[in-house]
């Protein structure tokens, strides 16, 4: 009797502990807080001599895609076409290493905003989601409040602004406000902002929304320098910061445990000449606990369970489409509009007056012709 009771007790304890573990698992599962990843990669300069900005963006695109974010979750904006530019001696390629070691253009690049579509307005509309209804899904950032978003900007910039297409600019205030709009609309869980331009640190100075982490290639007053010119292609292929960032990311694989603190160490002053900066004060987690793959990859924990779960009885009665909606709504008929008619009192009053005036003017003798 006592033994059975003891066995029951241990069984009960075992079962509750197993259940407790199972209850812990969702917490472990969602410990990073995000369920999907998005990336917005923008190159803002055009013309052949800005080849390196397109190469920057394409290298980040390549890494992000390699680490698991699908094209449907990447918004790639390139302001000019370098691969098919007339001056490209190696058409359909964009190289990031000298001696043409790495073609970041690849075979399956999907550019969402190209050429003159890369404007400040389009960029801000993509971020805030305020696009016209006819915009296709590939051009939208369909993130939700469990999305981690990586935003990478490159181009020519200055203290407080980034130049788009050599004709307009986006300011750091605008960018900060756009992120605040995204926060208010619950469009991100956490956001990593990387910018590779001259005086890039000025662009994240004005951020004020929570859960933002920012990296820049140079401080205010410093220029970001380009890495190597290629003598065959004739232009600089990459910027230093993104070159070393790409080198760092090439070592990351989907199950890597590298965290943000390693990312902050990429490209020290000795290699980059400029001083990279970062900002983590708005980020609610400890940067050491944020993995690289939280932003650059789309990593999901998958656990295989051996248990079976019984679903409840399926619903027997199925409604056909026709039964659910009134027929007129299906056929989209609008009720016929009634034409406007002047009120009867008005017509009566008007014609009475006209008749009165007529008879006053011409005398009552005309009445006998009517009656």
């Amino acid at each position: 009797m006592l033994a059975i009771f003891a066995v029951q007790l241990t069984l009960a304890v075992l079962v509750t502990s197993v259940f407790a573990c199972i209850q812990y698992r969702p917490l472990l599962f969602f410990s990073s807080g995000h369920t999907n990843n998005w990336a917005v990669l923008v190159c803002t300069s055009r013309f052949w001599f800005n080849y390196r900005h397109v190469a920057n963006t394409l290298s980040v695109y390549r890494s992000v895609k390699r680490l698991g974010i699908p094209d449907s979750h990447i918004v790639l904006m390139l302001a000019d076409d370098m691969a098919c530019n007339h001056r490209n001696p190696k058409p359909a390629t964009v190289f990031s290493h000298k001696n043409m070691e790495l073609n970041v253009y690849g075979d399956d690049v999907e550019v969402d905003y190209r050429g003159y579509e890369v404007t400040v307005e389009n960029f801000l509309r993509v971020l805030t989601g305020r696009l016209p209804p006819s915009t296709p899904r590939s051009k939208r950032l369909l993130s939700d409040d469990r999305s981690n978003i990586l935003i990478y900007l490159t181009g020519h910039g200055g203290n407080g602004f980034l130049k788009f297409q050599d004709s307009e600019e986006i300011s750091n205030v605008e960018l900060a406000d756009a992120f605040e709009q995204m926060w208010q609309k619950r469009r991100y869980n956490e956001l990593l902002f990387i910018i590779d331009t001259c005086q890039g640190a000025s662009m994240y100075e004005r951020f004020y929304s929570p859960n933002l982490m920012a990296l820049a290639s140079s401080q205010v007053g410093e220029d970001s320098l380009s890495h190597q010119p290629d003598l065959a292609i004739g232009v600089h292929l990459m910027d230093r910061y993104t070159f070393y960032l790409l080198e760092f990311l090439e070592d990351i694989h989907p199950s890597s445990k590298a965290n943000m603190n390693d990312l902050f160490k990429v490209c020290p002053k000795s290699q980059c000449v400029s001083t990279p900066g970062h900002r983590t004060d708005l980020f609610l987690r400890d940067p050491g606990s944020a993995l690289i793959t939280d932003f650059f990859g789309s990593v999901r924990k998958v656990e295989i369970t051996m248990e079976t779960i019984n679903l409840t009885e399926p619903i027997q009665q199925t409604y056909s489409y026709v039964d659910q909606l009134p027929v007129s709504e299906i056929i989209h008929q609008k009720p016929k509009q009634k034409d406007w008619h002047p009120p009867d009192g008005f017509i009566l009053g008007l014609w009475t007056l006209i008749l009165l005036v007529f008879f006053k003017t011409y005398g009552m003798k005309h009445l006998k012709h009517i009656f």
């Binding site: 034409d339 002047p342 008005f346 003017t361």
Partner: protein
């Protein structure tokens, strides 16, 4: 006289019908010189469409016509072309009949003055004969119907044609001496656009003259007649406005129509003077200049009626000209109306001084309007100043025309009372100058 008139009407209707069927109709109905925001046909169609959708046509800044026009075109929108041609025909026939009657009166007065020996001997050449006056009514109708301005205005289906018809009917009823009809048509004309209010004084003077009531402010009969006329006029105006209220059940036609005419919010370029001034004016001064410009239209009533109290029909002509030039949204249709009266004063041709200059300027400006518009809007190589310069010149030419006729009329009257060859006290030749 009926046969030539009928022929004229047929010719005019044919010309208009031919133009309606051609491709020019669309082009003309968009010209800013021919249509204004008050009179455009597109806006009438838009207003009727809004009404069919269940929205008040006065919501928004589209429709600025009176409710009676809504009522009229609700049933006639498919026959709009015939309506406008009919309006032109009515105007021409009304002007024809009124000028015929006026000529009879002029000739009768002249006969009495001759019998009473009131004319000095040397101005016999200024006396008019029935023979020369025989074709004047036909000429008036021709001037109105075959005037390119009228044809353009009719083809564009501008409601200016309807306004002109009402004013012409007012002139006809005034000259025939019918007090009630004159008051009613005047109130209709005022109801359509506010400016014919100034014709009140001219009508009063004419009707008083016709009923042999002397224009003396101390006499009771004068004030009694004025009171009667004012009562009829204001009464019919109130009745019409009240009836318009019952059409749509709301008063929003008042700010949309009269508020629009008086406060000039729409600054689309036209052949008038308002748009350029108000486009470049500071907000602070807008009300002041608005008052100045609007008073300018009404201002000439009293001085002109004092000067021309013996000649009320000439006063009507002058008032119509002043309204056409100084109103807030003039179009060429308004100009056509007062120009139709010019054959009535054709006997003044020997005293007109600037007629060659004026006609050249008017012709040149009419030709330059579309050219400079194209250069400004489409080619981009001119700007609004060019178009405004032509507008200004056009209006100056019109003012010169009107003042020239005024001078010629007064001079003829002076000669009729003081002789054709004027002498100063010492016997040397003198001449008359309008100061």
């Amino acid at each position: 006289m009926a046969a030539p008139l009928t022929l004229l009407l047929l010719v005019a209707v044919t010309v208009r019908a031919a133009l309606y069927r051609s491709s020019l109709a669309d082009l003309i109905s968009e010209r800013v010189e021919v249509v204004s925001p008050l009179t455009a046909w597109k806006r009438v169609v838009e207003g009727l469409a809004l009404l069919d959708l269940g929205v008040s046509p006065y919501s928004g800044d589209v429709f600025h016509e009176t409710p009676l026009i809504i009522y009229l075109f609700h049933f006639l929108v498919d026959y709009a072309e015939i309506t406008f041609m009919l309006a032109d025909v009515i105007t021409a026939v009304a002007l024809y009949l009124s000028v015929k009657d006026y000529n009879k009166q002029v000739f009768r007065k002249q006969k009495y003055a001759l019998e009473a020996d009131r004319y000095p001997l040397d101005c016999l050449e200024l006396i008019r004969s029935p023979k020369e006056m025989q074709y004047i009514p036909l000429k008036v109708a021709m001037f109105y119907l075959l005037n390119p301005f009228t044809i353009l205005s009719c083809v564009a289906k501008s409601t200016c044609g309807l306004n002109n018809a009402v004013i012409a009917l007012f002139v006809l009823s005034t000259i025939k001496g019918n007090v009630l009809l004159s008051a009613i048509f005047l109130s209709l004309a005022t109801y359509q656009s506010i400016y014919p209010l100034t014709l009140c004084a001219a009508a009063l003077l004419y009707l008083l003259q016709r009923q042999y009531i002397p224009v003396n402010l101390r006499r009771f009969s004068f004030w009694w007649f004025v009171a009667q006329y004012a009562f009829m006029y204001l009464g019919s105006l109130f009745v019409i406005v009240g009836l318009s209220f019952f059409l749509l059940g709301s008063w929003d036609f008042l700010p949309s129509v009269y508020g629009f005419i008086l406060s000039v919010p729409d600054l689309t370029p036209n052949i008038g003077l308002f748009w350029y001034f108000f486009a470049e004016m500071f907000e602070h001064f807008r009300l002041f200049f608005l008052c100045v410009f609007q008073i300018n239209v009404f201002f000439y009533t009293v001085p002109l009626s004092i000067k021309l109290k013996e000649h009320p029909v000439f006063l009507i002509f002058m008032q119509l000209a002043v309204i056409s030039i100084f109103k807030s949204y003039p179009t060429v249709g308004d100009i056509a109306l007062y120009m139709a009266f010019l054959p009535v004063w054709s006997h003044l041709h020997r005293f007109l001084r600037n007629i060659f200059l004026v006609s050249c300027v008017l012709l040149a400006c009419s030709a330059l309007f579309p050219v400079l518009w194209h250069l400004w809007i489409y080619a981009g190589s001119a700007n609004s100043n060019f178009y405004y310069a032509i507008t200004l010149l056009f209006n100056v030419a019109q003012i010169l025309l009107v003042s020239d006729y005024f001078y010629a009329f007064l001079r003829r009257e002076h000669h009729l009372s003081h002789g054709l060859y004027l002498k100063r006290k010492d016997g040397s030749e003198a001449t008359l100058v309008l100061k």
